[in-house]
Symmetry: D3
């Protein structure tokens, strides 16, 4: 064995030694991950997320993945020539569009993530939010009172199926569909689904993997990410304009999730292994919202 490889070995030893307290601390923790954006598109990033989830499972963390759908739904709708109408700028989901959404979410994307995890050596099971009546839903009213079709809001979470799968040693991979009382399916926003599941599970962490570095003091400067936001600071950050646009509902729902969750994280899904680095190294990544 030459000197070089010995140095490398020592680096590896150090990495393991550094990760030790975190491995120990997070064993048995329930971590809900909203998976979407670039990390679900770019092949390299996808592979790294799968590896991170596998590592989490290997060291005894109980991850739950909630994924979005994104552009593939739109593509298939176009391919099928389904007409689209809008109310207040929101797309109306008629039955045909819902069928397409369900097929893409529960049929294609969910299957792809599940296959990747099982192929990599992790143990994962894909389900939709209708399985075990996980996400009981009802019709979401639009702001203006118009009919948005089969877009749902969550009426109740029945987390038993998630518990059964995690206790059985599997990573549940959840497509964000809801089940109405009358058996009607609803399309649910994936961020909302992830938060509701995390709350119902009393998860230790809720992590949003998205295409931003976190909450930034200066939106043009990625180095201005605010590492930690206390729940009480959220409204102040909104009032002062630091948090704006899409960040406002994200922070407010994070603050609300803290009633039941330990911590909420906004991580940059465009950085490889951001999940792993957040969990197992001293350097926090992105923004964490804490009680």
């Amino acid at each position: 064995m030459n000197r070089l490889s010995l140095d490398e070995l020592m680096l590896r030893a150090d990495a393991l030694i550094e990760a030790m307290p975190y491995i120990s601390k997070f064993r048995g923790s329930r971590v809900v991950i909203k998976y979407g954006g670039a990390a679900m598109v770019d092949a390299d990033l996808k592979a790294a997320v799968i590896e991170d989830l596998h590592l989490m499972q290997t060291v005894g963390i109980l991850p739950v993945v909630v994924h979005g759908g994104g552009k593939e739904i739109t593509q298939l709708l176009q391919q099928l020539g389904t007409e689209t109408t809008f109310i207040d700028g929101q797309r109306v989901t008629n039955q045909a569009a819902l069928d397409v959404a369900e097929m893409v979410l529960a049929g294609r994307i969910n299957g792809e993530i599940t296959a990747a995890l099982n192929t990599r050596g992790a143990r994962a099971v894909g389900i939709s939010g209708k399985g075990g009546a996980l996400l009981r839903a009802r019709k979401l009213a639009s702001a203006s009172g118009g009919d948005l079709g089969y877009v749902g809001e969550i009426a109740e979470v029945r987390p038993r199926v998630i518990e059964v799968l995690t206790e059985g040693g599997f990573i549940p991979v959840v497509a964000p569909l809801g089940l109405g009382e009358d058996g009607q399916s609803y399309n649910i926003n994936a961020d909302v689904a992830a938060e509701a599941i995390a709350v119902a599970l009393r998860a230790d962490k809720l992590i949003f993997l998205s295409d931003i570095p976190g909450l930034m003091r200066d939106p043009r400067d990625p180095d201005s990410v605010i590492g930690t936001v206390h729940r009480t600071e959220v409204e102040e950050l909104i009032a002062s304009g630091v948090a704006s646009g899409g960040m406002i509902p994200k922070l407010r729902s994070a603050a609300k999730a803290l009633d039941a969750c330990g911590k909420v994280h906004i991580l940059d899904g465009r950085r490889r292994h951001s999940l792993l680095l957040e969990l197992f190294t001293e350097k926090g990544i992105g923004t964490q919202i804490v009680p």
Copy 2:
């Protein structure tokens, strides 16, 4: 309460009293049901199957449903204008066709059955055969050696996900998709998937719900159904021509399944509540293949 209703009540009491020994006998039994054909199309029959599955769960049976796909895949393929080629009369499943099959099976049909069960009061979770690597698959070679595309045969069944869900109190509803070693998905024949799962679970019963009354001595006379076939009689029935056509592979695979399963049933899915009547009354329905 008038006399009439009292008679009715006595009939109900008698039905329960008659069902009692079967309820007692089948508690905790694993019953794998291949669900397809008319019973998956006709609204009334669909509702009755859902009720039967719910009743089975209510009295402590552990059902596992494996469903087919049928015409809906063909419809969507046509709608999307996907071209179809054939080898030896078998449709070649290219990647586009596979995507469609997966979306229809795991996205639409699986979701519909799962939703119906949960809405009716049963507790069910839909998964695909890729979940938990339930169905490890490999490419199926055609008889002539031509390339059938992504049609798979089963390399291994990992029944853990089924066990976890049934022990957790859920009916697993399985879409017949397989996972190759390299992560590739494969379309699997639903009869084959049901049989393989029943064998891996060492199920007490494997039931095929199909559009025939059973094995008939005279194919034109539904009253000529043979009630019981002993494993040793199978080859004789084939040689004598009583069993012909599609019944031949069905009987042979049933005979093979008996290595691990208790019994195999071929039931007429076009008869309402055929599952329930088979399980809970003295009159057997259809054909049973026994060791």
Copy 3:
């Protein structure tokens, strides 16, 4: 199979489907049944009660039977020429009479019910209230202060033996005898014993099988049975004279039992399968007293 039998089959299917939610609801429920009157004398009614208890056990209900003694004690006392004295119209139970009561209750009747259940396929164990010190008793004082002999009131219920037997899969069949601190046996009223055991078990239901159709608005009209009595209505029904005679203590003790029990039922033991029909059909039978 001819049309007729198919109709019958459908009736049976319907009975099972109708019973389903009740089977599901009552699984694991503890139901204490005071068994006495005609249902303990008439051979047909006896057989039907045994079938009903067996069905209850088969579908996962945990029944507990407390039986009375009735005329057989008097018969044996006469046969042995034991003299009987009275105080305030109540029979005095001297040691000889107590011995006879114990032999008939714990020796003959208890054994007969236990044998019938085990022969029918149920699993039952007969015990007396002295077993496991289930019914700790003390001497009951007569209203006038006279000495009633070995008639006891319940000082304490130790339900452990009932729990052990039900958890072990058996129906406990209890002869209403009590154990004094000094080891003396006491004869206990079976209604009182059933109520005390139901309260100690925090039973879901306490059912009195007796020779009346329930609480009737017009005692001469069996169709005037009041289906449901709310606890708060009990005193009003007594004050208004609707409840009179033996019904008064029955209703008051039922109201008291509701502190710990879910519901109390007064069923007509002269109707075949009244237990089964009460539990598993939509039509309630007799009178229920609810909180």
Copy 4:
């Protein structure tokens, strides 16, 4: 504290220290005791047996008591004027006699022993052999082929009720009655019942408490008791005339019981605390039959 009491204390300490290895050795052992003869009649001996059983339970032994009936049945038969007939010198048990036997065994004697144990602080539950179908019986044929009435032999032992009660912390006290397939009760010999239960439980010890000091070389000399008989010596002892009369079937059945039991003991029930002394001191009492 004076010197004297200190000496006494040291004696007590020594007794405990001596008993220690036996307490340790027998924890969790199943010990079936046939209880009959003088020890069931004399008040002092009765009290001592109850204390011994309580001590056994206290230190973690799992005793099971099978009692006989003896003279009380004859007394009640006479009191009721029931006529008695004989075949081959054996009393014929007609239905009336059986009713009396059942009432005395399961109603009076069983209740008395159960009450004494529970009053003394032990935890005991009285059952008959019909409970839980413990003793499945069939009609016993007389040697000459005559009809002995409802005298039974054991067809099968279902020890589950004994296991449930002992695991639940109770001493089962068993009246030797059997249950025929058709629901008929049978009177069973108590020695035979004790042996069959011991075998079915794979008991560690089977102890017969009877009115003899053990197997004696010289029947007139109580000091000639043979301490240990090896299974292989049994036939020799019979052939040589050392064992004679009622001792012959006792030894043969003991030898047979050793297939499943650890040891069989014949103890003198007329000696106070013979159970306790046999179990917890170095000096064995009576005769033990060992493999």
Copy 5:
């Protein structure tokens, strides 16, 4: 068997019968014993303590032994010529003295007690207070502020190792050493260690085996031992001068321990089997302090 031995046997039977309720009462109790003084020096007394601990374990009590060190430390220090200095009359424990203390306590005395118990048939495991961080310690400040060296006070007790060993069937034998946050060892007073462990375990009894008969009204009269002291009497006994000298801190710490312990006993370790007699006979020994 001659008459004499029969009398002896009856005495033994009586001792067991008398001990029964105590055996029953203390099963599963946690009893912490501070072991020191004459009972750790005299060969006969040592043997009797070992027997008593073995008996306790045999009948299901869970004893925990905390031992002192005493003269052997001083002897080895002298043998090694280690110099000793004093502050306020207390010996200063420098690193060399601490090494000696640790070797004697954890190496010699602990090993000797553990060996004696295991040789006698008990199951015991010797550990030091550093094992499993049982005794987290910090430097004890002297009254005058001088540096006493490595004498520690207890910062925290982590009783898990004791629980693991007792649940695993072992008697933990603890050498009173503590572990500082920085890994430094500390010598801990054995009385203090026993009390802290008893409190952390919420022990049922804490017993100090020492060289006094108990708290005496007249220190010159061993017969004036006060049997029971109520917690509220402690300060009064100190104020009135009945308790003086070393008894003052003993009583105060006993009173404090009662927050978590059931009872505290001061027993005369110079009396053979004082542990056994205290636990299993009606005559209490020494002084008990009760809530």
Copy 6:
């Protein structure tokens, strides 16, 4: 965060990803480590071994440490002026020497390792081989028949205490002392003790940490280490002279241990983190002996 730290982070991520399959594979494995030589003397190496053991525990491995004593015993013997005699070149262990060995092994060295592990965050409990009668020993006969004093060989291993501690979440740290039947202590060779414990535990791995790089083809060339030796090659390597001196008994006992252990490793304790690198990287270190 600057680029550099990002690179470092990626290295860490890679180390964790590489370690993943090993973490997964070794979870729940029992690994017995003989700890001695330089790794027990040099402060840096000591710290690294402690870290490695902690990491092993953190990721779910169950390590058991058996340590030697070495020079510290000799030092204390000299300090105390104990005279030493020899037989066949082996030191005779008289009682005084044994006392010193026990104090140093169980008192000093064991305490030091235990303290270091608990201070570092691991959970460890130090015991001697006498605890729980782990190592039952008898006198070792010298080759010439001379009396070596209290040097023992292992008569029996009772691994229960090790199982209790590991299942309780602790690393057992074992001082190699044995317990004779008569209570006498014996000094046991640490290599022998480690092997015997590994065999009794049916350990997955037995690792000797010693001051050699492994088995070398050329003893002067550390790069000539033989990575893997198959059990069948052992005698050949000895016959050919490749294995010589102290390596001969080491290889033979390793081969013997393979009856019960998964693998035996000889690692260079002079290399930092050799345990960790062996377990968690693709590059094996030292020599492994495999079946």
